[in-house]
């Protein structure tokens, strides 16, 4: 282990590659990352994009094909070094919580601690709202409570880095929203450095300082929530942050630069205005308009065949103009997908 710069990032990843089929496909492909102490990073991407493998590599649960990982300046994984997971001081909340079924809540939480003071434990139990549940077994707890035990267990040994791998994927929406707030508050309160894996960009927007978008093992874009929303570099990234409607160059003859075969145009659904007086509009055929409680859910067909759903106060019929502002159009080079 070589201790380099003290002010260096807590986590540094260099040219990390991992393949599960001897190099045919790379699940993690030349990934470069660094994370400052106290920051929260979100890894976002569709399933199969390599998020989970990346954090498992960081935790030492997988060995990479090449590349290196440094934690607090120490090399933990490289071509010649491998520090086993038990020596990495990382806390991890697993997707399925991985609570030990034969151990009580108390035994689960203190599992990773050499000796834990009573006060510290009480503090922790209070933090996650589990006072009085110490003697129960995991199967006697609700999904949300299990989630909190998993978090408390990961935090108890005071890890230098906390990894949360899709922690909400097993919860229903209402519980998820509540827990998301709670967990965010706890992490902020403790000032802990964290990596948060999710396929839901809303989670990422809410929790993370820095969002990393992965696709097929590669980092496609990295930045804060606003920059990723306003300035996505690909249709893939744009689509992660809300519905986007791809537009055909032919439909959009009013774009002055028509040498645009190499480019893809799209617009966010929420930027469309119905029957607006704007210069830019698309003629759309209304396929159906169904009463949906407070409003109508409309399905309209754009000239290029794309079906678009949006709501309106009144029932719509025939054809409408969907207008938008020039600035609302997202333009991508085709190579960016």
């Amino acid at each position: 282990m070589t201790n380099t710069n003290k002010t260096a990032a807590l986590l540094e990843i260099k040219a990390l590659c991992k393949s599960f089929n001897k190099g045919k496909d790379y699940v993690v492909d030349k990934v470069e990352l660094s994370l400052k102490k106290g920051d929260i990073m979100a890894l976002v991407g569709e399933s199969g994009s390599g998020k989970t493998t990346l954090v498992r590599l960081i935790a030492g649960l997988e060995t990479p094909d090449s590349g290196s990982i440094l934690i607090a300046g120490n090399t933990v994984t490289s071509n010649s070094t491998f520090v086993p997971p038990e020596e990495r001081k990382i806390g991890m909340v697993f997707q399925d919580y991985a609570l030990f079924p034969h151990l009580t809540v108390y035994q689960n939480i203190t599992y990773g601690c050499k000796d834990i003071e009573k006060e510290q434990l009480t503090e922790l139990l209070e933090l996650v709202g589990l006072i009085g549940y110490e003697g129960r077994y995991p199967h006697q707890l609700s999904g949300g409570q299990q989630q909190r035990v998993a978090l408390a267990r990961a935090l108890a040994p005071r890890p230098q880095l906390l990894i949360l791998d899709e922690p909400f994927s097993n919860l229903d929406i209402a519980l998820k929203l509540q827990l998301r707030n709670e967990i965010f508050e706890i992490i902020q309160q403790l000032g802990i450095t964290a990596i948060f894996v999710t396929h839901d960009t809303q989670d990422a927007i809410m929790i993370a300082d820095d969002i990393v978008v992965l696709r097929k093992g590669k980092i496609v874009q990295q930045g804060n929530a606003t920059s990723l929303y306003n300035d996505p570099n690909s249709l893939y990234v744009a689509a992660l942050f809300g519905s986007v409607v791809p537009l055909n160059v032919k439909d959009l003859s009013y774009f002055k630069h028509t040498a645009a075969d190499s480019e893809t145009y799209a617009i966010r659904l929420e930027r469309f205005q119905v029957n607006a007086q704007s210069t830019f509009k698309v003629r759309a055929i209304i396929e159906r308009s169904l009463f949906f409680g407070q409003q109508y859910l409309n399905t309209v067909k754009l000239p290029n065949g794309t079906l678009v759903n949006f709501t309106s106060a009144q029932q719509l019929q025939g054809e409408i103009d969907l207008g938008f502002e020039r600035a609302a159009v997202l333009v991508f080079g085709n190579t960016a997908g």
């Binding site: 001897k22 020596e87 040994p157």
Partner: protein, 547 residues
């Protein structure tokens, strides 16, 4: 550009990689030995054997296998389907009585039937008492052996098929019925094809046991590969010929294993839905019920009740002469060695399953599975595979002792229990590993990952997480190996220390000395030690699956 993938031997090699290698060498030694010996040519009698008896071995084995496959399939599948699908009187009893023939080693069933059908045997007496002409049948031939092996081995097919019937087909049968198929069409179009891999797995065990059998074939005077190996080894004293025969037999065994793997293919027989419902039971019509009861009862009668009655009758007759202090000593020794074997085998099974996982070298991870092949190797073959390298080691130690330390001593390993234990462990490793493995596969991988991340090393993780969660299957593994060791004959005959006897060997010796009635008491003791654990295990397996 990505560089070509280097191998990280230095980075990923750890002490568990060493452990894995050690296990693979230790467990594979007998097979390597036999394969290597093939290159040093056959013995002098090999040509004679090929010209005169080999065809016999092959034909007899083919007849035995064909007959046993058909009979065990017929008995095992039909009884399994009837008890899984229909409500019958005494249901619970029938369900586990059908497993009980497993407590009988096939050579003991063979002895019982030899006496039953023999001149002056129980059948003759019975027919006379009932006022018929004295009736007897000669069963000391291939069809007789097929019958005996089948009634003692069909539970392997029964257990495997019932497991699939009960736990897999509920929803599918409902769907099939809703689509308009009747009971018979549903069985042949849905149930049977779905259960095929399970049934084949059970059938593979039957085939292994038939090829492994020595005691029954020997007593019935049927020449098979196994009896041939014994003859070459003991009567002709030609190890090279025995090894050649062993290799041939191994080839046949591996062909069957390959066949089983191949038929499983890539099709998925697992139901997609997790909400699996158990097979609903229906009532059988009155006329059918009688037939069903008969179909279920006959295997129980032939596989368990008749042999028990025959052996019990003889035991009473011979109790005074057989039950002596030395008999009790033999019984206790048998128990002792079976317990020790069970313990050691479970230990080795755990090492075989865990060392490869803890090691980080990928190619070694797959090697662990190789070590489990032992059960496929017939006992006689394994015995020779164990004897050859251990004898070599013994000779080497003797020469080192003489030349280096100037000491003289005899064989340190051969003729001691250590070699026998070594062979038992290899032979029964798969028996122990299978229940543990299936339990291990049900444990979420994330549990041990979580423990590792929380600062516990692989061994501590095993002790604190895996071991407590594997407890039920460890018990099952222990019991299964214990019962199998009590029954084991061919391997024990070859490798046992000179003055050491087990109940199985004692029964065999009595039977070979034409004292078949005296053989019944040790035989009954083996059956008794087998019955209790089987009942326990059946309870436990069913309870486990209810959860």
């Amino acid at each position: 550009m990505r560089e070509t993938k280097p191998t990280y031997l230095k980075r990923d090699f750890n002490k568990w990689s060493m452990g894995t290698l050690a296990i693979v060498v230790f467990m594979g030694l007998p097979i390597y030995t036999i394969v290597l010996r093939l290159f040093s040519g056959p013995g002098e009698t090999w040509q004679h054997l090929v010209n005169h008896v080999l065809l016999d071995y092959v034909l007899n084995s083919v007849w035995l296998l064909t007959g046993c496959v058909i009979l065990t399939l017929a008995m095992g599948v039909s009884s399994a389907w009837i008890v899984s699908r229909y409500r019958l009187p005494g249901q619970k009893w029938l369900e586990w009585l059908l497993i009980l023939p497993l407590a009988f080693p096939s050579y003991i069933t063979a002895y019982a039937y030899a006496g039953f059908f023999d001149y002056g045997g129980s059948l003759m007496l019975l027919s006379q008492t009932l006022g018929f002409d004295p009736f007897r049948m000669d069963i000391m031939n291939v069809p007789g052996l097929v019958f005996v092996l089948s009634v003692s081995l069909f539970p392997y097919v029964y257990v495997a098929s019932r497991a699939v019937f009960v736990y897999q087909s509920g929803r599918l049968i409902e769907a099939s019925k809703l689509l308009g198929a009747n009971e018979i069409k549903t069985f042949f179009k849905i149930v049977l094809p779905m259960a095929r891999p399970g049934i084949f797995a059970g059938l593979l065990l039957v085939i292994m046991e038939v090829l492994n059998d020595y005691g029954a074939a020997k007593y019935y005077g049927v020449s098979t590969f196994t009896t041939g190996i014994f003859r070459a080894w003991f009567a002709l004293e030609e190890p090279a010929t025995a090894i050649y025969l062993s290799a041939l037999l191994l080839l046949i065994v591996f062909a069957f294993i390959f066949l089983e793997r191949w038929q499983r293919g890539k099709k998925s027989y697992e139901l997609a839905s997790k909400s699996n419902i158990r097979l609903p039971k229906i009532a059988a019509s009155k006329s059918l019920r009688g037939i069903f009861l008969l179909v279920v009862f006959l295997p129980i009668l032939f596989g368990f009740l008749l042999p028990v009655l025959q052996l019990g009758y003889w035991s009473i007759l011979t109790f005074k002469t057989v039950a002596s202090a030395s008999f009790v000593a033999i019984a206790l020794k048998s128990l002792g060695i079976a317990l020790l074997t069970a313990f050691l085998t479970v230990l080795f099974a755990l090492m075989t399953l865990y060392f490869p996982v803890w090691n980080r070298l990928k190619f070694l991870r797959k090697c662990g599975r190789l070590a489990i092949l032992g059960y496929a190797i017939p006992g006689a073959v394994l015995a020779i595979g164990v004897m050859v390298p251990t004898l070599q080691l013994d000779r080497w130690m003797i020469s080192v002792g003489e030349n280096v330390f100037d000491m003289e001593f005899g064989l340190l390993l051969n003729g001691t229990l250590s070699v026998l234990l070594y062979a038992y462990i290899i032979r029964f490793l798969a028996v122990a590993a299978n229940p543990i493995l299936s339990n291990q596969l049900k444990l979420k991988k994330s549990l041990s990952d979580a423990s590792r991340v929380l600062g516990k090393g692989p061994f501590k993780t095993f002790l604190k997480i895996d071991l407590p969660l594997l407890k039920p299957s460890l018990l099952a593994a222990f019991i299964l190996v214990f019962v199998d060791t009590m029954k084991e004959l061919p391997l024990t005959l070859i490798l046992k220390p000179y003055d050491f006897n087990t109940l199985a060997v004692k029964a065999y010796e009595y039977a070979s000395d034409e004292q078949i009635m005296e053989a019944s008491l040790p035989a009954l003791c083996i059956v008794a030690t087998g019955v209790v654990p089987i009942i326990l295990l059946n309870r436990f397996i069913l309870n486990d699956k209810h959860e």
